[in-house]
């Protein structure tokens, strides 16, 4: 029971974090310059809107829940159970981020989710 509760926290907060982080980065616009200075300034700039900082908090929650899950369950349970994150994030990408998720992407995401789940058996 505790394991599944942790799985829900890991997958739910990671998916919400993914979606918010994508939104924040898209608002910033494409990063062209990968030299350390401009790259550092770009990362500082994205922390000025709330999307990216909140997404990092959500991902930190997911991360600590995952650490906690790893300490009570095997890696071979933890990794596949949290694979549901792929399905949840694709749904968020389609309906929240308005990405064009065509059948190849839906099928790809479903194959990855099933594949990750199989890895543990």
């Amino acid at each position: 029971m505790m394991n599944w509760l942790l799985v829900a926290v890991v997958a739910g907060s990671a998916s919400a974090g993914n979606a918010l982080q994508t939104l924040g980065m898209k608002h910033h616009g494409e990063i062209h310059d990968f030299r350390p200075g401009p790259l550092g300034r770009a990362f500082l700039k994205v922390t000025r809107s709330w999307h990216v900082p909140v997404s990092i908090v959500l991902m930190a929650i997911s991360f600590f829940a995952f650490l906690s899950l790893l300490s009570v369950a095997d890696l071979s349970f933890a990794v596949p159970a949290t694979a549901v994150e792929y399905a949840l994030s694709t749904v968020a990408a389609r309906y929240f981020l308005k990405e064009q998720v065509n059948w190849r992407r839906w099928t790809g995401a479903a194959l990855v989710t099933c594949g990750v789940a199989l890895l543990a058996l």
């Binding site: 993914n18 979606a19 982080q21 994508t22 939104l23 980065m25 898209k26 608002h27 910033h28 616009g29 494409e30 990063i31 062209h32 990968f34 790259l39 770009a42 990362f43 994205v46 990216v52 990092i56 991902m59 991360f63 600590f64 650490l67 906690s68 790893l70 300490s71 009570v72 890696l75 990794v79 792929y86 994030s89 694709t90 968020a92 990408a93 389609r94 981020l97 308005k98 990405e99 064009q100 998720v101 065509n102 190849r104 992407r105 099928t107 790809g108 995401a109 479903a110 194959l111 990855v112 099933c114 594949g115 990750v116 789940a117 199989l118 890895l119 543990a120 058996l121």
Partner: protein, 139 residues
Amino acid sequence: MSSARLHRKTRLLAAVVILANVFGNFFLSLGLRQRGPSLGISPLRYLEALASPWVSLGVCVLVLWLLSRMALLSWADLSFVLPITSFGYVLTALLGRLLLGEQISPQRWAGTVLIALGILLVSTTSVRTSVRRLRRNVR
């Protein structure tokens, strides 16, 4: 930016994201395995765990993962990036086999094949579909 250059940039950064994720998780797992029993919900025990060298190395590599993924998401779709970077699971299975001597069951090979097929399918779609629409919302 030309489409060929965009694809090259995307592939390169995706490789960084994948490797940082795999090695970050591997170091974390190594550090936590050495510690033994459950972390529970006490914040103090998390801080203790973070002080172990393997766990802190894992955290540093995962910070690199986060930053490189943010850069990738600045132009690529989430529904493109997530399946593509799931190649990390295949690498994790191989690392477990090669470095930790874990057995890979037929089911695990089947899972690996499914992931590879999923990645192949998604990689035939365009890297970004949403940028224009989101920018319009911002204005």
